[in-house]
Symmetry: C2
Subunit: 283 residues, 2 copies
């Protein structure tokens, strides 16, 4: 397995893969790998001749006061997990490789980056789009794999790929959950024991919302949102950031609960911000 630190070396290796006609699958991560990341890696190894994973905690997608400096790191554990799969290369650039002194080029994704998580994390999705552009240009993947837990991120990246004409297919993979239903996230490690117990309310609230919608007795979006809010508010540790019912591909708010709808949640528990979502086909 190649461990690669520079963009030039990554591009050179990617060229050797492509010139021999091998397809490249790519899983960009910020490390601290969990079973969610591993599901993306497994899928990539199944669908491509070559799989490349990147580990880079991207400073430009963190806002002031966010958790960039304390974001969990587990290099040894990450490398052990990756080595259990047929992964050809790990791309491990440092910050000065990706953002050298004087760096000033950024991607702005427009309105889709300002709703949902973008409303409380301004410039987050511009930072995501910028690093994804840089990583895609370094790796030149045929397919790139993202998890549905970060649904807005996946939608933003699909739009980025379409609008900037990247020759890369974006593959969205299902949310992987702990046995009690909590969506896997590197940020779960921030939770105290008590907070960890509270955190299962996100998935429960999504299941509650889904049941409300599937019952056919709720016709009104704001009523569903209000009931989910009340459900979440029953736990005193939970502070709601947003509850939104949106089209899962456009992220536009839905007018009715017929058809396909994503319930998207963001809450704060203690100092930890957690997100989760579920997509409901109520055709």
């Amino acid at each position: 397995m190649h461990v690669i630190k520079t963009v030039k070396a990554m591009q050179a290796l990617s060229r050797t893969f492509r010139s021999s006609g091998r397809t490249i699958g790519f899983v960009p991560t910020m490390g601290s790998l969990h079973e969610g990341h591993m599901s993306l890696l497994r899928r990539s190894t199944e669908e491509n001749d070559v799989t490349i994973v990147s580990i880079f905690i991207n400073p430009t997608q963190f806002g002031p006061g966010e958790d960039f400096n304390r974001y969990p790191k587990d290099h040894k554990g990450d490398m052990e997990k990756i080595s259990t799969l047929p992964v050809e290369a790990v791309f491990l650039p440092d910050v000065s490789e990706m953002y050298p002194k004087g760096f000033s080029t950024f991607i702005y994704v427009g309105g889709i980056g300002n709703i949902l998580c973008g409303a409380s994390r301004p410039d987050h999705f511009n930072g995501v789009a910028t690093i994804v552009t840089k990583l895609f240009n370094s790796v030149a993947p045929d397919r790139a794999y993202f998890g549905q837990k970060d649904l807005q991120q996946a939608v933003v990246i699909k739009k980025l790929v379409q609008e900037l004409n990247f020759d890369t297919e974006i593959v969205l993979c299902p949310i992987v959950r702990e046995s009690d239903g909590l969506a896997m996230s590197s940020r779960n490690s921030y939770l105290s024991d008590e907070e960890r117990k509270s955190a299962i309310i996100l998935n429960k609230a999504l299941q509650y919302g889904k049941a409300l919608i599937m019952s056919g007795k709720e016709g009104d979006i704001s009523s569903v949102k209000g009931k989910i809010a009340a459900f979440l508010a029953s736990d005193p540790l939970v502070r709601i950031d947003y509850i939104e019912l949106v089209h899962p591909e456009s992220l536009e708010q839905v007018d009715t609960i017929n058809g396909t709808v994503a319930i998207c949640l963001a809450v704060n528990i203690g100092k930890t911000r957690l997100i989760d979502n579920t997509i409901i086909n109520n055709g």
Copy 2:
């Protein structure tokens, strides 16, 4: 010669070139081809296995009130000129192919896009960076060719390529001039006979500035700029936009006239904005 209208078809053709190990040279243009463009195309055909030229008048690099709607078009002449060279493909997307409804993803290049021409053409270089990104992702060139007449554009694109990690070499080619010294430009066609006569003053002013610097008698930047300004002001049709002495790679203003320096000019003659520059090695 392939004539290609869609990004998908361009990407598919580019893939066939790359998978057979052929290098791709790319010349992006806005059409109305002149000998300057032809010099780029010839260089590309000499240095690459395959040459692709694009013709696309990019709306996002024109400001309100600029000449987007009247920019010269000569499709028949362009195709005739291209067909004299071993060019494999002409990429001819229309505006709705490059900027479909709802398009919202833009590249911002930072401070380097706000000086010189960027000061009087806000967002021009962001539009240039956005379309170049889209074209590079469509064509996936090994090398792309730009003319030194648009020096700031070339510097911005080199920075774009470096900072977003495009795996493409930017080749800067010399300015091609008319026999009387006027730099070739599609916009020269806007000039009346009288304006056309005045326009030769740009190159004359550059040569005058160069002689001042090479004389070794001018140590002061503002004195050189003042003398060039007076030279240009001798023609009543000429209105100066800027005269700057900059490092040709960073575009930062020089403190002294020792070393390598670019004299960059922009003037308006009637309704036509013209630019020109010369790079002086005064080591």
